[in-house]
């Protein structure tokens, strides 16, 4: 049977379109996956809280300041906090992946040292916003601590107290306590626990927005 000369062209076009469709479907898996799974309530305690403490919806993050994915989520979480003031809060826990990220523990200590002077979130923002400045994997900063001190000065911290805090065993213990708490639930960073349940995959902002909107709608209906 003679074959049409146009058939291969059609196959190529259809093949690329189908492959694109599959890729699109896979990329949206996070947003269409089932809701959060049980198991995170024990790991979702204390931590630094951003947003109204009595906010109805609570998201716990186990993060690593040198992890690029955590860096990608940083503006997403800030956007959610801005979009739902009083309704949504973020609890941050340290989970530095020290075997993979040479400066992650130092960064967590810097954030905790800033917390000692009441500026945890200011340092948290700086560490994520300038992650590439101090966290490049190929060229670990030879003196990341000096960079963290610069950040401390920028946000108005007392540099001597900051250094003391950074080197204090009590500060390290706080970070390690977070790691111990997260060990049972954290498979990688970031790990999110939304209202006590571990969030599967790494969903896009739309997934969080959808969840929050549904929770708010349910709450509004039951409040009537």
């Amino acid at each position: 049977m003679p074959k049409s000369k146009t058939t291969p062209f059609l196959v190529i076009i259809v093949g690329v379109l189908v492959a694109g469709g599959f890729a699109m479907y896979l990329s949206r898996q996070g947003s269409t996956s089932a809701g959060p799974t049980e198991g995170g309530s024990a790991a979702a305690q204390t931590g630094h809280v951003r947003g109204a403490p009595d906010a109805m919806i609570s998201l716990v993050e186990y993060g690593d300041y040198q992890c690029p994915t955590c860096g990608l989520y940083h503006p997403i979480l800030k956007e959610l906090l801005n979009r739902y003031p009083g309704k949504f809060k973020l609890q941050y826990h340290h989970f530095p992946l020290v075997q993979m990220h040479s400066n992650a523990m130092g960064a967590a200590l810097a954030a905790e040292a800033a917390a000692d002077q009441g500026k945890f979130w200011e340092m948290h923002d700086l560490l994520f916003d300038r992650q590439r400045e101090w966290g490049d994997l190929r060229q670990p900063h030879p003196n990341a601590e000096a960079v963290f001190v610069q950040y401390a000065l920028q946000i108005g911290l007392d540099s001597n107290k900051f250094m003391q805090s950074m080197r204090s065993p009590a500060t390290r213990d706080r970070v390690l306590a977070d790691v111990t708490r997260g060990n049972a639930v954290v498979k990688g960073t970031p790990t999110f626990i939304l209202d006590g349940q571990v969030v599967p995959n790494l969903p896009p902002i739309e997934w969080f927005v959808d969840y929050i909107e549904r929770r708010l709608a349910t709450s509004a209906q039951s409040g009537k």
Partner: protein
């Protein structure tokens, strides 16, 4: 040649899905369910060449193989497929280099990149060898 072309068609289709997925997810969090370190690999300085994400070079390679295989399967035109060996060899060598970068420099693995390396290897070993082609012509 037909079975070989069908195999290459399927392998390159999977490669297209893999590279398009990475292209779509560029700049957004990529879930890493089997390995850990997708973001480290995908955001490293090795993930781009002249500012272009390497996944797009992979896409171009898979598209070439897919096209050549489609011509072989659907119009009995094997000439393109016979030329696939050389880009497949280049892709195979580059894949070995990229896996080495993940193992020894980044010390992090991206499952999508590993899948691509496996596909490239299979395509390389599945593509018609120039020597075999000559032998086939002589007999």
């Amino acid at each position: 040649m037909k079975k070989r072309a069908i195999s290459l068609l399927l392998l390159s289709f999977l490669g297209l899905v893999d590279t398009l997925y990475l292209g779509i997810k560029r700049g957004t969090p990529v879930p890493c369910s089997i390995t850990t370190g997708c973001e480290e690999v995908l955001n490293s300085s090795f993930s781009t060449l002249a500012g272009i994400p390497i996944s797009w070079f992979g896409f171009a390679f898979y598209l070439a193989v897919f096209s050549a295989a489609a011509f072989s399967v659907f119009s009995d035109e094997d000439r393109l497929l016979k030329w696939i060996f050389w880009p497949a060899l280049a892709a195979f060598v580059i894949s070995i280099g990229l896996v080495a970068v993940q193992a020894f420099i980044l010390r992090a693995y991206c499952q999508y990149c590993l899948v691509s390396a496996i596909l490239t290897t299979l395509i390389f070993f599945g593509s018609p060898r120039p020597g075999l082609r000559r032998m086939a012509q002589e007999t």
